[in-house]
Amino acid sequence: MLKKTAPPAGPRVLTLRILRSTPGDATEPHWQDFRVEEAEGMTLFIALNEVRESLDPSLQFDFVCRAGICGSCGMLIDGKPGLACCALTRDHGAEITLAPLPVFELIGDLSVNTGKWMRGTAERLETWIHSDAEPLLTALEPRMEPELAEAIYELDRCIECGCCVAGCGTLRMREEFVGAIGLNKIARFRLDPRDERSDDDFYELIGDDTGVFGCMSLLGCHDVCPKGLPLQTQIAFLRRKMVAVGLK
């Protein structure tokens, strides 16, 4: 897009307005502003590290891969859940507000305990292949249609960042709701013929208000998923399949 005005002289000075808090500390949660000079190609990963290195070494946040694949750095960026490492400052205004993801247990500042939540989900929904057969490792592997393998990967791309959980309206009302991440996992294992569980088994896991029938179809999850997973269609599809079990 062509801009008619002349480019401003020198780089912008950004204000990062960060919600600070440490559970157990005497101080109340509060907003704190940090000013950093914008650089070419600057991401929030770079900006936040600059704040920590030069302005406040106590600032807490989580990054691991800094390449958008590990899901560690979900936070509310200008109010919307997203991955901070992929957020280019040039796509935002001069003042950027940052807050921790809601729903998850707060560790401090921008750091939340997604790990505990996700492990709980994995245990509750048993997100692994259920098979009685012990594979014979030296034998040729069982075959799979190439298109099916690709379809499974499509749902396997979830990075458990928690953005869908933070963007979920239902979860604010029903704490036990499994969220889009949980429903997507069930869709993934349901699609996989190596998992011997039936729809009756899956119904036991998600066939109620804490599962697929709890979703109010606000679908914030679908809008904020950084991986662009087809959450909307998967939830609708699962609901149809689970209704069929429920009506049996």
Partner: protein, 658 residues
């Protein structure tokens, strides 16, 4: 003092640690995993392109087997690897892929019939065999004779990590997250577990175990420009070094990946070139065939990285204010291929460069990528010098990779080594050697010593700034211990790192908080990372030859006569400022594949005196076994089957191989 007891303590929740944990658990032992982050966030997830295993299903992999994979790996390593380990690995890798398939990894599959691919810049049609339909397919990677890299689009590591991590959940293995091992508990050559810091509360506790396994990955963050995640600081390797008993092998054997996004250093997979992508310079010229007429873009990583830097030095790079770079062109693969098989690459290009790789070329330059050096173990994963300590994956110097690792062999190593070491630890725990004789007094002393170190940082009168020292170390490593190495620059690096190490003893931490305290974490990690950096730089200075990725401009020849040996670094006194280096000879007379030319790169090695005799001996054995099958011949050349755990023995079935 809180003490947690477990049979097996696994430090590191990436692929290697998780797989080892599952193995030991399935043998009936209690296992606890410690992880800096939730395990699914581990850096294993960043492995994009795939894992090598000689299934031979795709038509371009036809005829592949353990022998071919073995030779590619040894040549790739520039004869620096342990050949028995390489044999054990290539034998087990197909089983690892098949096990992962059973655990749910959605490997891409062979589709029978014609398909169009790009090879050497041209579109060609391959016809996949109908009998292979639905089996696991593979793509091409550098330094391999066959298409052997099994993959899941370009999210292979992610899919593998999720499958194995979910298996650990299925086995009810506890993972203690945001916990960091900061010292090993050991006495009289026996490891008893670790002192562990809770990164949220700051509390120290002890984990006492019969067997302790370090699987903490690499130490790329000692460099400024690296593809590694921010958690890859090598602390697991460092605490092993600090025992003074365990040793680190070949720390100078650092890998640089040819194609990382410039200037951020984020990886774009070798699969880009494997699938037909080309490297071009500022003039749009495809330059690799000028340097490497045989393998071109698909020579080994050390060779391609070096040629790229050479081409930039000759003035052919694209010039920017951040420095020069080259271009990776995958536009010829087409949008459909990129959307299906290189989608992470596409997202990374969009996020960090603001380009679409289907229409624009990708700015790339080599960057630090992988640590071949690490805790020296034997073929079963037992650490040298410290009983009860084991290691696997990138943290270990098992020594599969020698001085250059093939793409696709590291993510394969994580699970294969995890399979082996899980069994080894179970054997150990079940044996008398695994019995626990540890006094709580020792544990308390160890914990108090670590607490005192942290207290000194928090409450002492130090004035040095940890972040500044960290930045300086990373600059020294990137500027002076990089792809092209020279004696004078390495000496400068060693001198400056020693000065930094002295300063690091006087760090002051401004944030006094005992709990979550990122500044304190930087401080104590830096003290450990500097020791690793010194092992790398000093090892590189002493190694007066060029082998694989260790390239000395002042000693450009591979010198088998003097340097066919593995560097072993130890650090017995906390007050020394240089590691003590020793060397472990590689036995040419026992090699299945004696040193020779790799098939790419320079052809100027100085021969080892024993090579000629071994070559003759091997041809005698081969002719004596003229009509025997390949397994019998291999057994006669270099027996390795005694190293294979019982459950992974047997021959790997392949299409068309009886």
């Amino acid at each position: 003092m809180r003490i947690n007891y477990t049979d097996v303590l696994v430090i590191g929740g990436g692929l290697a640690g998780l797989r080892a944990a599952v193995g030991a658990r399935r043998r009936g032992h209690d296992v606890t995993i410690l992880s800096l982050v939730p395990p699914k966030r581990s850096h294993s997830a960043a492995a994009q392109g795939g894992m090598q295993a000689s299934l031979g299903n795709t038509v371009k992999g036809e005829g592949d087997n353990e022998d071919v994979h073995f030779e590619d790996t040894v040549r790739g390593s520039d004869w620096g690897c342990d050949q028995e380990v390489a044999r054990l690995f290539v034998h087990t890798a197909p089983q690892a892929v098949r096990e992962l398939a059973a655990w749910g990894v959605p490997w891409n599959r062979v589709k029978a019939g014609d398909r169009e691919v790009v090879m050497d810049g041209k579109r060609v049609t391959l016809t996949e065999r109908p009998e292979a339909h639905g089996l696991i397919t593979a793509r091409d990677f550098g330094g391999t004779k066959k298409w052997r890299t099994c993959y899941v689009s370009d999210g292979t590591g992610h899919a593998m990590l999720y499958a194995v991590s979910d298996q650990a959940v299925a086995e009810s293995i506890p993972v203690h997250e945001r916990m960091e091992a900061i010292a090993l508990i050991h006495e009289g050559g026996r490891c008893h577990g670790a002192i562990v810091r809770n990164l949220v509360t700051g509390e120290l506790s002890a984990y006492v175990a019969k067997a302790t396994c370090i699987a903490t990955g690499g130490f790329g963050r000692i460099y400024r420009v690296t593809t590694n995640a921010v958690i890859n600081e090598g602390i697991g390797s460092a605490i092993a070094l600090e025992t003074g008993a365990a040793v680190l092998g070949n720390m100078e054997a650092v890998q640089f990946h040819p194609t990382t996004i410039f200037p951020a250093g984020i990886l774009v997979t070798e699969g880009c070139r494997g699938d037909g992508g080309l490297l071009k310079d500022a003039a749009g010229h495809r330059f690799m065939p000028d340097y490497e007429p045989e393998k071109k873009e698909l020579a080994s990583r050390d060779v391609v990285s070096r040629r790229m830097e050479e081409h930039i030095r000759a003035g052919h790079g694209v010039k920017t204010r951040f420095g020069d770079h080259l271009l990776l062109d995958i536009t010829l693969l087409g949008a459909a291929h990129i959307d299906g098989k290189l989608r992470e690459v596409k997202e990374i290009c969009q996020h960090f460069l603001g380009i679409d790789p289907a229409t624009d070329m990708i700015a790339v330059r080599p960057a630090q990528h992988y640590s071949r050096g690490g805790i020296r173990t034997d073929a079963r994963g037992q650490a040298r010098g410290l009983a009860g300590l084991f290691s696997c994956g990138e943290a270990a110097c098992w020594d599969l990779h020698g001085f250059n690792r093939l793409g696709g062999n590291s993510v394969a190593e994580t699970v294969v080594a995890g399979m082996i070491v899980g069994e080894t630890m179970a054997d150990f725990v079940e044996s008398a050697a695994g019995d626990l004789h540890v006094s709580t007094a020792l544990v308390r002393e160890c914990l108090e010593r670590e607490q005192a170190k942290l207290d000194t940082l928090l409450m002492g009168d130090g004035t040095e700034n940890a972040s500044e020292l960290m930045r300086r170390m990373q600059e020294i490593m990137t500027d002076k211990v990089g792809i092209f190495r020279r004696g004078d620059l390495l000496q400068e690096a060693v001198d400056e790192l020693q000065a930094l190490l002295l300063k690091s003893r006087k760090i002051g931490v401004a944030t006094k908080r005992a709990g979550a305290n990122p500044e304190l974490v930087t401080a104590y990690r830096l003290q450990k990372m500097l020791k690793l950096a010194l092992c790398v730089a000093y090892g590189a200075l002493q190694r007066t030859e060029s082998r694989g990725a260790h390239y000395r401009e002042d000693y450009p020849q591979r010198d088998d006569a003097n340097w066919l040996k593995r560097t072993l670094a130890s650090w017995s006194d906390d007050f020394q400022t240089l590691p003590t280096l020793g060397y472990e000879e590689l036995d040419v007379a026992a090699m299945e594949l004696p040193p020779g030319w790799r098939g790419y790169g320079a052809k100027n090695a100085i021969e080892h005196p024993a090579t000629a005799a071994r070559v003759t001996e091997i041809s005698t054995i081969r002719s004596a076994f003229g009509h025997a099958d390949r397994f019998t011949v291999q057994q006669a050349l270099m027996p390795f089957e005694h190293l294979v755990p019982a459950r992974f023995r047997g021959r790997n079935e392949r299409l068309g191989e009886s």
